[in-house]
Amino acid sequence: MSANADEKQLVKHTTCYMCACRCGIRVTLNEEGKVRYIQGNPDHPLNKGVICAKGSSGIMKQYSPARLTRPLKRKEGAPRGDGQFEPISWEEAFDILEKRLAHLRATDPKKFALFTGRDQMQALTGLFARQFGTPNYAAHGGFCSVNMAAGMIYTIGGSFWEFGGPDLERARVFMMFGTAEDHHSNPLKTAISEFKRRGGRFISVNPVRTGYSAIADEWVPIRPGTDGAFIMAMMKVLIDEGLFDRDFLVEYTNAAQLVREDDGKIARDDNGGPLWWDEASEGVVPFKTEGAQPALEGAYRLSDGSVARPAFELLRERLAECTPQWAEEITGIPAADIVRLARELGETALHQAFELPIAWTDSWGRRHETVTGRPVAFHAMRGLAAHSNGFQTIRAFSLLLTLLGTIDRPGGFRHKAPYPRPIPPGPQIMTKPEDVQPNTPLNGAPLGSPASPDDLFVDENGEPLRIDKAFSWEHPLSLHGLMHNVITNAWRGDPYKIDTLLIFMANMAWNSTMNTAEVRKMLNDRDENGEYKIPFLVVCDAFQSEMVAFADLVLPDTTYLERHDCISLLDRPISEYEGPVDSVRIPVVEPMGECKPFQEVLVELASRLKLPAFTREDGSRKFKDYPDFVVNFETAPGSGIGFLAGWRGKDGSKAIRGEPNPKQWEMYEKNGCFFAYHMPKEHHYMRNWNRGYLEWAHEMGFIAKSDPIVIHLYSEILQDFRLAAQGKRPGKQPPERLRKRIETYFDPLPFFYRPIEVQLSDTEKYPLAAVTQRPMAMYHSWDSQNAWLRQIHTYNYLYMSPELGRKHGFEDGDWVWVESMHGKVRVQCRFSQAVEPGTVWTWNAIGKNAGAWNLTPEANESTQGFLLNHLISEELPAHEFGEHISNSDPVTGQAGWYDVRVRVYPAKPDEEKRTWPRFKADKPVPGEPRRPDVVAYFAGKRR
């Protein structure tokens, strides 16, 4: 039987975008060009042929009735937020933008703010912002998992997901902390399955048992926001019982380096090199002195008379009070379990170690005949990250991996190119008001990683210069910005007013914002002159999200099947442990209506505004379109580094670095739309200190220098911020009100503290933690418009322990109120045994505003579905450090989504059995496809 062979079908390759995982896909089109089938590309290194529920439902996204298909302008005189639009031409849209932005660029470029969601093209959006000259740019990282990135990058020089992961092929024990399913998706599912089948033991630490945790051999139901205590107690057990990799600590970390007691700085010799205390010679020797016996413990007097102690000793001292009993009180995990789990990790790492016969040479010139494997792997993401204590928790987590000696070793954590990178990795950001000038590119990158207080972007009073207050003393290491505060700050005019806010692919009027109801008011709020407080709002999206209604100008983006894209090494690539990998999207169908890829919009605008990188010396435009830009753009003239690493050089014969190749897109297409570089075996491990690898990575432009990347068990960088706060360091100083905050949270050693929102909550009144989980069949708010996926999650419940419900007098399925100090939501409850009893939870972003996404106003998403966002504030209550401090990690500005405390109580019998709060229904906009009453999708010839 061959039902399909007789059709004239066309098969094309591209890259999925139904979530952030970015699997390779193969798309079969029927003879009319309709999508017949989307399957995983079996040759693709990431997903190897598999595909998830979302990826398999791409057809329903492509033909969704929620698609925006025409540029739209808010009708003259119509109030913002009413969804009254008139269609305009692209020419008019570009004209409006060009005039407005050219004026801002010539007068005050920071009045233009560009913030994007999970856009997968930050290399381009970042370049645009920098060339425009505005510091007010970021993507969604600040409200996603920047703690994970920053905590690990500032400790081990790498991080999870795109830049590193667990080596489940060789691990025997795998411990996973809260991880959203797309971080990452299919490869992790496959790896966990194969790991289990090989006999590995999977331990999941999570307040909720869903998703990956469902198949864990052991579930550790931790209280939200307490992971730091759990990890610190395990570290204490490991150290007390000698279950740590002493040699690894000495050789590859700063554990044995001496820290001065007087200023908390690492003791250095005249050349600036760190020092060890050599027990053999009873004196100081330079770090890595051959034959020395460096001390990990004790206190020693230096030649200048001051006292110094090894960093490890300070860590041990820090852990002294972190007993399993202490952690049990905080986490709810029995002390005996903490001890048992710590021993299991330590004993597996030490006693089941193995050697791989791979010879390599370290940065100090020593040759090693083998690589040591330690078969204990971890994975973690948002569960640790989305708390205001996440940075220090992740510092602790990184040190747990370090104690076990599992960094870039077989069976443990492994890096992915372009990581590891120096600590911190850079780039240099702008640091002073003068770095922002009219008609001039920004002097520095809009996002980077400060190495010291002097890298902060603050004015002479130490006050913020970015609209989101990133890189200020409020959140110094806010590597990904603070998108969650942009609207509130812009509305308040704090630190200043802006003119135009361009939001790409982020639903900031609904599920992507905290404090949703108030933020919706801010978007519409006017000043005393009747002018909108945020004067001009541009929204670029492919779909009619809740944000669209608030736009003054709507730009219809394409779907992933209609566009060119790069999954670039300059952004967040899809590298494998064994080498860099990048990939592309190439259109497989024509854009619907007048949809235009956002990249084309940016290239067009950049050309019209004559941004230098997009303009020839004679003033003419440099790039015809986005594909042309991708081929020909180089990070610096002649650098040979561009957006794509594959098939560079004039004839495509060079990898990673080489001249532009005019046939690069064709070569990607021929290879199934990805490029995978395979490194030699001797570069597969120990890359922080692997000379061959580091020299190659430097040559490829991944790192600015090839020095070894020594693990920061003790963070001198954090200590520098603390010294500034204590007034003991020259250079930039925090404002007085923030000194104590910086001094407290910039501890050079990890510590556990209650999340800040919890510290400021009445936990007698609001005793419960409330968190969200991301369902595997939905990507954020994106898939309620998807006829197939919305049948899997049509609405959401608030899940909780049955005892909790009964204590408050309600039963499974009842309508209840869930209330925080900031607001309340009426929801339906569902009793569950698979949740820590002090926690309630729900699926993220299933609730929708009535009428949004071209659903009917009676769709379950808006009548029974709900958001927890109404309970969560974007700002902390006024407290000692200020009135409008972001509800975020004080180090990184990571949004504290999971810190809210709530109570639950039954709805009254006469109350409506519907979700509350409710808002005015959104209406379809001009150009949206008709919403059918029945879908009976069939692409092909009917028999």
Partner: protein, 212 residues
């Protein structure tokens, strides 16, 4: 005699629903399609799916387990849906044991769905015919596909590799081996239907203390 079937490993299934929508995507435009969706953008949307994942909990906190349980037609060796069919539309193939519905003969009486103890049949209200899993019979013998892809769509998609397709009568097949080695079981054997599809149970690996 060949009996094709699916072996579903509950020990690795994370409940991602890839099998659910990849099935729908393949089959709605395939020989068993279309698979209509009513009220697709309205309240209580309801569509035809040949494969669904049910999720339930077992045990009490803190020893509770969350089980994701994918279910489709089990292609019984003695399928109760076949003898009840008044027109012969519901039939079991001699050559490979797949249970199919001939839409041209089906009069939509629904006897088969009442007879099926597993609730595995799906009625198409628009075509007025009964539909169900075909084990992607329009893929597995399609010699225009590479041999490695002559598999049911759900098996190709499954990221956890929790679905094994093969001949459960052939003791050397991977499917038979997995059943043998992992305590594979049939669903509700007391009904005597002898489902060809098998499930592999959860098994917990070490470590858990009795202290808590």
């Amino acid at each position: 005699m060949t009996q094709l079937a699916l072996v579903i490993d509950l020990n690795v299934c994370v409940g991602c629903h890839a099998c659910v929508t990849s099935c729908k995507e393949w089959n709605t435009s395939g020989s068993a399609g279309p698979m209509p969706d009513d009220r697709p953008y309205d309240h209580d949307p309801s569509g035809v799916f040949f494969n669904r994942v049910q999720t339930f909990e077992v045990g009490e906190f803190p020893h509770a387990e969350t089980i994701h349980f994918p279910k489709s037609c089990l292609h019984c060796e003695d399928p109760p849906c076949v003898p009840v069919c008044p027109t012969g539309a519901s039939y079991k193939r001699e050559e490979d044991g797949i249970v199919l519905v001939d839409y041209d003969k089906c009069i939509g009486c629904k006897y088969c769905s009442w007879a099926c103890p597993y609730g595995a049949r799906e009625f198409d209200e628009h075509g007025k015919v009964m539909k169900k899993c075909t084990l992607c019979v329009d893929r597995i013998y399609d010699d225009s596909l590479p041999e490695s892809e002559r598999l049911p769509a759900c098996v190709m998609a499954c990221p956890a590799k929790a679905r094994i397709f093969g001949d459960v009568h052939d003791p050397d097949s991977e499917a038979s081996r997995m059943i043998r080695e992992n305590h594979g079981y049939q669903l509700m054997p007391e009904w005597g239907t002898q489902p060809a599809n098998h499930y592999l149970p959860r098994h917990i690996r070490g470590g858990q203390t009795e202290t808590s």
